[in-house]
Symmetry: C2
Subunit: 326 residues, 2 copies
């Protein structure tokens, strides 16, 4: 029987509650257990379980793949926080902040190894494809993170380069989770690829939402200050669209605000950047782009040859993410 | 036909020469190509090829496993150099020194992913065992590195704790390389485990030699200054044995030299530590311990049921490492 999305989420919670993540030496594993207990949306393992269930799989079949994909995702956050020197994640001190840079390096490496360990726990008929999908996904995530850092130093990032970057940094992991769920259910190649593409569009929409929420989100609902991308000089979709849509004087002002060595203070920079975003009508334009990606995701789902009922959980994911405020 | 050790080394060199390690983005892959072109002894893939050849395998069968194990080893060096803030490796600037901490984090993560990618390139009948062996080995290497860092802060490390640490940090990777070579040749369980134990003893001898060379090696042959472990307050086998063998006044002096906030300058610290090592006759004692591990390795090799001729390459490795000056 196909699970609904609530049941998928509960299954994922139960899978995580049954794990302890503690071992010796404590100095290595305490930051790992801490990170994995911080929670979060558990979106990737939920997608994995939902795709698998839609195609006739069972939770027991994907228990360890679900753990592996989420442990990997948390490893990438841990190393990202180290590279960004971020003090907070999900409202709590990061591993970098609490234990220092070396702990972040080595506990991160260990978490990544644990992700592989989970994937290897449960030999399934199509294991090799699962592992290759995970490996290629991980490689793209690393590349995406590098492009993201490189783009902070470049003045001439195009929208298509930006979309390539977020595809790698964010979308391929959602797509990979869905594909792995399908492979574990022994799905045919066409279905597997459609689910992968569904995940790509979902991931692009998700990242564009992140960009939008950073500028227009509600601080209380987000649990963090807005405007952080602007303070960090991030080349977001918003910024690149504003440069494209703005008048000559607006783009000149944006470039001055974001120039290295600019002496405008941070809050003034956020305020003036948001003013330009509003002048060019950015919010509506970005919302339209997000809707477009959600529509493409829905179209991929339509073409998959299972009953409408079986597709319900993934449709629920679309609806849930479409309305997200954080 | 079984390869001799020279042929194993040449095969490994050819395998590495055929690879390029370059891809986009260049900022991510240039540090990887740089690291993998620095060379080194390529001991781990050589052991893998030699074990495989001894048991009737072929170089083509282990091409990608040999790459995987060496890429993994170089990844651990890259992250170790980052954690130690080391400026030099093999006489050249480290990635940390040349590209900075963030490049060391992310190019390291990517190298580790490439190691998995190599292992997954070539499906073999006993692939799952190969991957599990690699994964568990990697986990122990991370743990060993953590114990090594933890021990720098502790005053009461025992010899048996030290041996547990170097087993994980150094020996299991040599043992894992040999075991993977055996698994690729579809060896029986007893042979595989004996080769693993051969590797453990070889690895312990290798690390004890490293400790000894740091104190008693020839600077010109080593290509680096001796006494670095003493400057770094490393708890080496030499240090722990000296504390065990020294008189009350010798151990008191050692503890003072190594105490946090000691005001003795570095060269004085090296000089006085070495003087105590000489007084307690440490060199001969450590050489005996090393010979003991080599003898245990040789004994494991003796019990393996292949011809004396087939064992030649691994005996040559023993002889080569036994006489090493760097």
């Amino acid at each position: 029987m196909t699970l609904n999305i609530k049941q998928c989420q509960q299954a994922v919670e139960q899978i995580f509650e049954a794990e302890h993540f503690e071992a010796e030496p404590q100095s290595l594993y305490a930051p790992i257990a801490y990170t994995l207990r911080l929670g979060g949306k558990r979106l990737r393992p939920t997608l994995l379980v939902a795709a698998n269930s839609m195609l006739g799989g069972s939770v027991e079949q994907v228990r360890f793949a679900a753990l592996g994909i989420e442990v990997f995702h948390n490893f990438t956050l841990l190393h990202d926080d180290l590279m960004d020197r971020s003090p907070l994640r999900r409202g709590k001190p990061t591993v970098y902040q609490q234990w220092g840079a070396n702990a972040a390096v080595l506990s991160g490496d260990t978490m990544y190894t644990l992700a592989w360990d989970y994937f290897l726990r449960q030999p399934l008929p199509r294991m090799h494809e699962v592992l290759q999908c995970f490996c290629h996904t991980a490689l793209e995530v690393c590349e995406g993170q590098q492009y993201d850092m490189d783009f902070e130093q470049h003045d001439d990032v195009s929208i298509s380069q930006y979309l390539m970057m977020i595809r790698k940094k964010t979308a391929v992991l959602l797509a990979g989770a869905l594909k792995i769920g399908a492979l574990c259910a022994d799905a045919d190649a066409a279905t597997t690829e459609r689910l992968y593409d569904f995940g790509i569009h979902l991931g692009l929409a998700f990242q564009l939402q992140d960009d939008l929420l950073d500028a227009y989100g509600d601080t209380a609902q987000l649990g963090k200050a807005t405007g952080q991308d602007i303070r960090d000089n991030k080349k977001t979709y918003l910024m690149l669209r504003a440069l494209e849509l703005g008048t000559e004087s607006q783009t000149r002002e944006l470039r001055q605000l974001f120039a290295a060595g600019s002496e405008v203070n941070e809050e003034e920079k956020v305020k003036r950047t948001l003013a330009i975003y509003n002048e060019v009508g950015l919010k509506e334009g970005v919302e339209k782009a997000i809707d477009g990606e959600f529509a493409l995701a829905a179209a991929e789902l339509d073409t998959i040859g299972v009953s409408a009922e079986a597709k319900c959980p993934l449709r629920e994911v679309l609806a849930m993410l479409d309305g997200r405020k954080k």
